[in-house]
Each structure stands twice: as C-alpha cells, then as structure tokens.
Amino acid sequence: MIEMQNVWKNYPNGTIALQGISVHIGKSDFVYVVGPSGAGKSTFIKLMYREENPTKGEIFVNGFNIGRLKPRKVPLLRRSLGVVFQDFKLLPRLTAYENVAFALEVIGAQRQIKRRVREALDWVGLVDKADVLPEHLSGGEQQRIAIARALVNNPTVIIADEPTGNLDPETSWGIMKVFQRINDRGTTVVMATHNKDIVNTLRKRVIAIENGRIARDEAKGTYEYED
C-alpha cells in the first residue's frame, strides 16, 4: 500500500526535513504519525500525495512510484487517495453538497454523482446539512464535509494532517469515530496528530518522527510527548 525506502527530503532553502525514512504501511492499517513541531510529519504526509518530491529514496503509494511519477500521472495518484487537513479547505461559496460533488465533477465523473455524494454525506452523518454553506456549519461539521469529500471517490487510503488540530476535544472525538468507521470498512488511515489524549486512548500503530528520522514505530503505541 505505502512503502518508503531510505527517503530523504531537502528543501531548496537547505532544510533537511527527512533523513532516511523507511516504513511499510499495509492495507487497512491505522497509523498515527507523531513527533515534535518541525520534526517532518507534514513533509512525510506531503510526499505520499506527491505535493513534494523526494530528494532521495523510493516511495510507492498504491502502486505509483512517487519519485518517478510523471506530472501527467499525478492526478491518477491523487484519485486513489483522500486527503484531509487541519483547515478543512472547503470552498466558502459552495454548499456542503456542492463541496463534495466538486471533487467528482473536476475529475470528469459523470455518472451517479448525486447518489455518491449522498452516500459520502451519509458516512459522515451530515445528509441533513447538504444545502448549508460552510460558514453556517460548526468546525466539526466542516471537517466532516472535508472527510466526505475525501471519501467520495472511494479511495483506498485516507491521509490526514492534524485533522483535529482546530477542534475542541469533544468534537475531535466525533471526528475520530468517523475515521475509525472508515478504517473499519478496510480503508488505510494515516494521520499526523498532536492529540495525546486520542493517541493514548484509541490505541493504534504509532510512528514517531524526530529530526526527520523514525524514532519509534510501535503497534498500539503511545504519544509520549508533553505539548
């Protein structure tokens, strides 16, 4: 599913964000990526959907060789993934329904858009908010819409960079339940997070990155940082 072998990432300004990452994430895994600020978690995530290119090393995601992927093929990789962010990235002028449908329309999908969008909204429990604009939704609801958008194309992997970073604890738990359900249906989940409480309660595999290196990789691991 996701395979990294001795991956390095140097940014043009000289920062070495990742120094020799090797990791394997299998189908239906649920992985937390933890570590101090600036450790390289976001870079690790960005490499997976080819927002950044590795400087060295091999990365395979859903069968795509990231380092050698032609720009023309990047859209195909992205269609096999769903990506969720801390800031939701919804389009303010579109309703919840339209935001989700947007993801299908812009990849040229024609068939059954309505049904698929309803289904995705159903997954996150927001069918009744379909016609509401994001500004009239709570933070948690907005994040659910973003998750529905990531899900609507039936990806095999969901990648999330601090999806609960902007949410209060109670709302965060609601979001985690959604991720758990997504994982239960067989979708791989990779989530960078600072949420100690969640990592230590909903126990999953933990990959800890420090200084661009993997410091720990434990099944049913714990957070172990004081934020």
Binding site: R72, R78, L91, A103, E105, I107, N153
Partner: protein, 294 residues
C-alpha cells in the same frame, strides 16, 4: 466537458468584470483600428486594379500648335514603340465633352468662357502594356509641341506610396496596441487565477488533470479575444455599409467602385477573429504558464 469549461470561463469573465471590460476594450480598440486599415487596404487594392485597367496618358498640346501640326504629332506618337492607340481630341470636342460631363444644369458656368482659350488640344494615348504608361508618358513629353503630359499612373503611384506609408505606421501602431492588449488580458487572467486559487488548490488535491484546471482560464482569455473582435467588427461593417449606401457604391473623386459589404465582411471577420483569438490565447497562456503551476 467543454460545456463546463465555457460556463466557468463566462463566470470568470463576469466575476472579474472591471478587468474584463478593460481587456475587451483594449482588444476592441486595437482591432477597430486594424479593421479600418484593412478596409482601406482592401479598397486600395481594388482602386489600383481598377485604375490600372483604364490607364491612359493625357497629352496636352501647346496653345500655338495648329491643327496640321497636331495631326503630325499624332502620327509621330503612333509610331513610337509600345503604343496601343492614340486618340485626338480637339479643343472643340474637349469642350463638348466637358459640357456633357458637367451637365446642362451648370451650363451657365461654361457659358461665360471663351471656347478658344479654355482647353488645349489633347491626345489620349494608351500604352500596349499598362505598366509602361509612365515610360511612354516620358517619351511623349520630349516630342516638340507637347505642353503637359499627365499619366494617371503617377497619381495612382503617389496615392499608393502614401497609403503604404500610412499602412506601415498603422501596422506599427497596431502591433504596439496588440502587445498592450495581450498584457492586459494576461493580467486579467492572472487576477482570475489568484481569485480562484483555493478552487485550483482543491482541484489539484482531488486529482483534476492539468488541462481540466487550465481550460476555464483559457476559455476566459479566448472569450475576451472573441468579444474584443466581435464589437469592432459590428461597428465597422455597419459603418462601412452606411458609407457604401451613402455614396452609392462609388468612391467619390477617384470614382472607382467600392468593394461590396458582403465581400469585405467575410475577410474582415476572418482576420479580426483570428487576431482576437490569437491575442487572447497568447495572453492567457502567458499567465497560465506563470501563475498556474500545475
């Protein structure tokens, strides 16, 4: 799919209304000047063709030349190489022709003039080859008894030279304007790209292809070019049509027939549309390449 791109392109155009108006205006003004120049050029071509077909040299004899001497000169000119025909018009005949041309209405104007002093004897000479008209005219000038030689070609040449200078100035001017229009379009597209950067970001994220992302912006740019061509085209054809009707299809003074509206409209539309679209696409691509890193 193209339907969506067109819809988005129109949306961009409307959302960005002030910049769109400025860009369309720039293209329209440029093409208005270019189109007007083209109309003149088309007709200038027509003029030179028409006038070349009936080129003749008017040879005026000196007042003191007698009828007998005139006949001698006619013979002499007839024997020169490259001459097709020589027609002798005596001053009396010339006067009658003038009378006819001006018409009875203005007869009084001529009535007061003494016939003998108004007009010189005239020879109307045609060269075998219209291009030789000027050479022939020069040779005839050397014949004794000849006063003035007037070849229509000279007038045409002067007019054509003037028009070509005008055309070159116009062309440089239009070229400058085209570049300006292109930069305005490129700037408009840049602003659109900027105002839609969130959508672009999400499109990339969910796997839209590069061309899918580019098309609405390219469509917007082409629409600017298209509208910028359509407006001056409408103005020019309507203007030309009313001019055509007003002068009865014949250009005053030089009296050559103007090209009919239908004949110029097609060519004009083709050229203007092509240039409009070209400027639009060019300006669009400039911005897309620079600001739409996909």
């Amino acid at each position: 799919m193209m339907g969506r791109h067109l819809r988005e392109g129109v949306k961009n155009l409307i959302r960005n209304s002030w910049m769109s108006v400025a860009s369309v205006g720039a293209v329209a003004i440029t093409l208005l000047i270019l189109g007007a120049a083209l109309l003149i050029a088309f007709n200038a071509q027509q003029m030179s063709q028409y006038v070349a077909g009936q080129l003749q040299v008017n040879v005026y004899l000196k007042q003191q030349v007698t009828k007998a001497q005139a006949q001698q000169i006619v013979g002499e000119v007839q024997n020169m190489p490259g001459i097709r025909s020589v027609q002798y018009v005596s001053k009396e005949e010339g006067f009658k022709q003038l009378e006819q041309m001006i018409g009875t209405q203005y007869h009084d104007v001529l009535g007061g003039l003494s016939q003998a002093n108004t007009l010189p004897d005239k020879l109307i000479v045609k060269a075998a080859n219209p291009q030789d008209t000027v050479t022939v005219a020069k040779e005839i000038q050397a014949v004794p008894g000849v006063d003035k030689v007037d070849s229509g070609q000279q007038v045409v040449n002067r007019l054509l030279a003037f028009l070509s200078v005008l055309r070159n100035i116009g062309l440089a001017f239009v070229l400058g304007l085209l570049v300006t229009a292109m930069f305005l379009i490129s700037n408009t597209i840049k602003i659109t790209i900027f105002s839609r950067r969130r959508e672009i970001e999400i499109m990339k994220l969910v796997g839209a292809t590069n061309w899918f992302i580019r098309w609405p912006f390219l469509t917007e740019a082409m629409l600017i070019g298209f509208i910028g061509a359509a407006i001056p085209f409408a103005i020019l054809t309507l203007g030309y049509r009313s001019l055509y009707v007003h002068v009865g299809g014949v250009f005053p003074i030089l009296t050559f027939p103007l090209l009919p509206v239908s004949a110029v409209a097609i060519k004009l539309f083709g050229v203007m549309l092509l240039i409009g679209l070209f400027v639009g696409i060019w300006g669009g691509i400039m911005s897309i390449r620079k600001f739409l890193r996909v």
